[in-house]
């Protein structure tokens, strides 16, 4: 009589793997040893093999009903659902979506090419020739637009004095601020020059030794007038003008050139891009619909 406690310690899963023919190597040796030495393991091995054979011969259960489809069920199943339903109008063989998509895309592409050609032909030329006249045109009103003669003349001088330096004129033109706006008081020439400078916002009156034009002009009004008269001080920043008014005459100003704002995309380009996008979207929808169909 085999000792059941001994068999309980045996690896049943190993015997099952051996019965299924899945044990190999050391596992196979161990399983074979168990089956050979333990009667319970041998019985388990036989039972598992018998069960596997019996399962293969199990009779199939009889079906309780007929599973053929009725016409109604087929019609219901043929109707598209979900995404297919939404995309169904795009998938028809005679659908006008395909030609429409192609037409839209072609029109959009042609429009983009045409708009691009116009931009290249006209916009390029204008961008090359625009700055100088634009600067002159904008500098002149700035010079003449000041209600105060002092500021106007100072600005005019600044503009004229900056004329040899190419960057000065656009900077004066691009200041964009009315010449009279930032002028605090009657510091005249210096403030006029400061207002003509493009992106240099007059710093607040501070205690910096060479910092603010207000301090410099307060203390050295005559010299400020002189420096204002010197046209080369105009393009540089106020602090630089105050620190070295004469140096800037020799060195070209480092003022960044502010480009005039572009005219923006033309309506032709926008419309063409929209047409192209619509054509592409329609084409993709048709492609997806035909794949789902």
């Amino acid at each position: 009589m085999p000792d059941p406690t001994v068999h309980a310690a045996h690896d049943r899963l190993l015997v099952a793997a051996h019965a299924a023919g899945d044990a190999s190597g050391p596992d196979l040796e161990r399983a074979a040893a168990l089956v050979a030495s333990c009667p319970e393991c041998a019985r388990l091995h036989r039972d598992l093999r018998a069960l596997s054979a019996a399962l293969a011969e199990t009779p199939a259960p009889a079906r309780p009903r007929d599973f053929r489809l009725t016409d109604e069920a087929a019609a219901r199943l043929s109707r598209p659902t979900g995404w297919r339903r939404l995309l169904a109008p795009f998938s028809g063989a005679r659908s006008a979506v395909g030609p429409l998509a192609a037409s839209l895309a072609t029109l959009g592409l042609a429009g983009l090419l045409l708009g691009g050609g116009v931009n290249l032909g006209l916009g390029g030329a204008s961008s090359m020739s625009a700055p100088a006249p634009q600067a002159a045109a904008t500098a002149a009103p700035a010079a003449a637009g000041g209600g105060d003669n002092v500021y106007g003349s100072a600005a005019g001088q600044g503009a004229l004095g900056a004329a040899p330096a190419p960057s000065a004129a656009p900077s004066a033109a691009a200041a964009g601020t009315p010449p009279t706006a930032p002028v605090p008081s009657a510091e005249g020439a210096v403030t006029g020059i400061a207002s003509a400078a493009p992106s240099v916002v007059p710093p607040p009156p501070a205690t910096g030794p060479a910092g603010s034009p207000a301090v410099a002009s307060d203390k050295n009004a005559p010299s400020a007038g002189v420096s204002a008269g010197a046209p080369t001080a105009a393009p540089s920043g106020a602090g630089e003008a105050n620190v070295a008014p004469t140096r800037s005459a020799a060195t070209p100003p480092a003022t960044p050139v502010a480009e005039p704002p572009g005219p923006g995309p033309s309506p032709l380009a926008v419309g063409s891009a929209l047409l192209l996008a619509a054509g592409i979207v329609l084409g993709l929808l048709r492609l997806a619909a035909r794949r789902l169909a």
Binding site: L13, A17, A62
Partner: protein, 222 residues
């Protein structure tokens, strides 16, 4: 008929998902051709052709699903849903064996039914005494042997219903349906080792369930 140009075109259009390298005898090849013709006609809208496929395979599919899903009504629903799904997705058939294709759909439907059942548990196998489980008896059938097979069928089905669904699926697909380990792994979405483990543990569990009835099965081995 079977060598028609239409069939040739259809067969070329069908790209088998997995090459079946098993030897195919003449009758099996003929059955495949017949199935491809029916599928092609069904894809053209012939409900009659599709119902021809249903007639051919509904017994097989119900036998497969009923072993995986304990409740007979739920099994029938799963089979019906499998045929619905097949009808809806006729265009997704990429060739190969129609029987295998329908089998995969039915197995998926059965597993869906099992998941549904897990959320809404019901009594397993409520109709074990159903005489429909009897195997068909031939003219020279031995009544004693037939009775033994019926008894075995009953106890095996009861034991199968008692083990876990994962183990049951693996055992049914391997021992009853004849799928190999890799096919079962692909069908159930688990690793090869997991499939083997489920089969081994499932058989052990079956044997424990049948502890009092194992004499029914030991008879064959003397």
């Amino acid at each position: 008929m079977l060598d028609s140009a239409r069939l040739t075109i259809a067969a070329r259009g069908f790209r088998p998902v997995v090459d079946d390298v098993r030897p195919v005898d003449a009758s099996e090849e003929q059955a495949r051709r017949r199935d491809l013709i029916l599928v092609e006609r069904a894809r053209e809208g012939s409900l009659e052709a599709f119902n021809g496929l249903v007639e051919l395979y509904q017994d097989h599919l119900f036998g497969l699903v009923a072993r995986m899903v304990p409740d007979r009504d739920q099994a029938a629903d799963a089979v019906q849903e499998a045929f619905f799904s097949a009808y809806r997705n006729l265009r997704s058939f990429r060739g190969g064996s129609v029987r295998s294709w329908l089998g995969r759909i039915a197995i998926n439907a059965a597993m869906d039914q099992q998941r549904l059942r897990k959320r809404r548990p019901a009594q397993p196998y409520p109709e074990l005494e159903d005489e429909a489980w009897q195997p068909p008896a031939g003219p020279d059938a031995d009544p004693e042997r037939t009775a033994l097979e019926v008894e075995r069928g009953h106890v095996l089905e009861a034991a199968l219903a008692a083990i876990t669904p994962d183990q049951r699926n693996a055992i049914v697909l391997f021992d009853v349906e004849g799928y190999d380990y890799q096919e079962i792994a692909d069908l159930t979405g688990v690793s090869l080792g997991t499939v083997k483990s489920r089969i081994h543990r499932g058989r052990l569990a079956l044997r424990d369930c049948l502890a009092g009835s194992m004499s029914l099965f030991r008879g064959d081995e003397g």
